[in-house]
């Protein structure tokens, strides 16, 4: 294992995995992959592999946590021990707890929670393989899982990170870019409403760089939105085609 920082942008302006600065990693989204969950989705984004399940709306225990006028949204972001290079203990880390909160707050504005008072809607994210940008992939897949569960929403929420590596602004950072780059800025967005539901940033950006990177992230989100919609149409339109095929 060679130590030290890899070259993140080469002489041709290409990134460590050969991508151009505004290029996304390959994405695959499958809907309804689990038998038990009310809704579920599986996402691959580059080497990221995540499974998201939604249960609810359902009874909330203990009862005193229930909200009188709306559903309580709960989210658990969790990584499998074998999802990263060095085995991670299954016990929740501080990072997982923070991400659970941030992902919940990214999804909450989209869900019509007041339609289900005194219930719980649970979103469970399991990261099976991690390669940078898992919180964004989690938000993207969770929205699809919520739609699969029939939970009413204002829009799908989609997420992607922008950042700066070797001085160059890029989108959809992989693990090496996350680890060795200068800035990482995850953004979650509701494209049909034009509003941002998650924003985090660490690193230094000038005002100009910030605006440019932010717009790149929004554009990337809009591209990923098409993947979400296509995955849902594929699943829910499938029966129609299957049956017409019989005739």
């Amino acid at each position: 294992m060679s130590g030290g920082k890899p070259v993140l942008i080469d002489e041709r302006g290409l990134r460590v995995d050969g991508r151009k600065p505004d290029e996304l990693r390959p994405i695959k989204i499958e809907v309804g992959v689990l038998a038990n969950a009310n809704g579920s989705a599986y996402i691959e984004q580059g080497k990221n592999k995540l499974l998201v399940a939604v249960y609810g709306p359902r009874e909330l225990h203990p009862k005193h946590l229930a909200l009188p006028d709306r559903a309580l949204l709960r989210c658990r972001y969790h990584m499998a021990p074998f999802s990263v290079e060095e085995r991670k203990s299954p016990a929740p880390s501080r990072r997982e707890i923070e991400l659970s909160k941030v992902i919940r707050e990214a999804l909450e504005p989209a869900i019509l929670l007041d339609r289900f008072p005194r219930t719980a809607i649970d979103v469970f994210v399991e990261v099976l393989e991690a390669d940078g940008g898992t919180r964004c992939a989690a938000v993207t897949a969770a929205s699809v899982a919520l739609a699969d569960a029939g939970i009413p929403m204002r829009d799908l929420v989609v997420a992607c990170a922008a950042g700066k590596v070797d001085g160059q602004l890029v989108v959809d950072l992989c693990d090496a870019e996350d680890k060795y780059g200068e800035v990482d800025m995850p953004v979650a967005y509701m494209p049909s409403k034009g509003v941002v539901t998650l924003l985090q940033m660490d690193g230094i950006l000038t005002r100009e760089e910030f605006e440019k990177a932010f717009k790149m992230a929004i554009l990337a989100c809009e591209k990923i939105y098409e993947f979400q919609k296509e995955a849902l149409r594929r699943k829910f339109g499938a029966v129609q085609e299957e049956v017409s095929g019989d005739k």
């Binding site: 689990l34 038990n36 592999k49 499974l51 359902r58 499998a80 074998f82 060095e86 299954p90 469970f124």
Partner: protein, 273 residues
């Protein structure tokens, strides 16, 4: 599965069916649901596999780390099996540390692998008394639809078959981890077969609905030679000695079937990669 409580009329129906040698999904009493085995599905693990039995889906990842041996076995590597029943797998799984079911499952799968001596732990010793390979087997239940034991045991074995660990060189007191990797050698292929009792009938591979009405359950690990190497009875009903012997014979037979399926799937995987 319907409802949070066992539905009385469904239980009556399942009992009646079983007494006639039939099951709700059309299987015979000794059939498994469709099984699929996939190797190498977790890219960052040293070995991994995913097994589906019906709608039950279990993933296992293996990670190898260098650590200290146990004081009473200074020249042996360490095998650690852990199981997580993650909440996404079932409405009845709560977030939190492994409960008694997850712990029992991990310990039983551990015994199945350990007691069959499938892994030569002495091979995993680097510097006796100081440095050995620790093999973490993490069982991840992703969809619970009955018979987690067999799916977990099969996935754990498949993941170990898929495992390769770095070659470690000893230079004086130091351990150098080279870039070279070598596959983990397995000396046996222990297979778990779980049999449930409903009324007077024994059923192999209970589904979720069947599990909710079982009196009791027996998991039997058998080796390639047809020997038993680990057993576990669970749930609070009772077995007669005749039933147990019948179950063991069933397990040896079905164990052979599952073992060939596993080895065939592995050959296919090696052939295509």
């Amino acid at each position: 599965m319907i409802s949070k409580v066992p539905v009385n009329l469904n239980r009556a129906y399942l009992l009646d069916l079983a007494s006639k040698g039939a099951r709700i999904d059309g299987r015979s009493l000794s059939d498994y649901r469709p099984i699929s085995i996939e190797f190498g599905i977790a890219g960052k693990a040293d070995g991994s596999a995913g097994v589906k039995i019906g709608n039950t889906y279990v993933m296992v990842g293996v990670k190898a780390e260098i650590g200290m041996p146990f004081p009473d076995t200074p020249d042996e590597g360490v095998l650690m099996v852990n199981a997580e029943f993650v909440p996404l797998a079932s409405p009845s799984f709560e977030p939190g540390p492994p409960d008694e079911n997850a712990i029992e499952l991990a310990r039983v799968v551990d015994r199945g692998i350990r007691k069959s001596e499938a892994l030569d732990l002495k091979e995993l010793c680097i510097i006796p008394g100081k440095k050995v390979w620790m093999i973490w087997v993490d069982i991840y239940v992703l969809d619970y639809n009955g018979n987690l034991m067999d799916a977990s045991a099969l996935a754990a074995l498949a993941a170990l078959m898929n495992t390769s660990i770095p070659v470690a060189k000893v230079e004086g007191d130091e351990v150098i981890i080279t870039e070279e990797r070598k596959p983990l050698q397995l000396r046996d292929y222990p297979i778990a077969v779980t049999i449930g009792k409903i009324g007077d009938s024994l059923i192999v591979d209970p589904s979720l609905e069947e599990e909710s009405v079982l009196d009791c359950r027996l998991t039997i690990f058998t080796t390639r030679d047809g020997n038993t190497c680990a057993l576990q009875k669970s749930f609070s009903g009772v077995f007669t000695p005749e039933e147990i012997l019948k179950a063991v014979d069933l397990a040896i037979g079905k164990g052979k079937e599952l073992r060939s399926k596993l080895l065939e799937a592995y050959e296919q995987f090696k052939g295509s990669s």
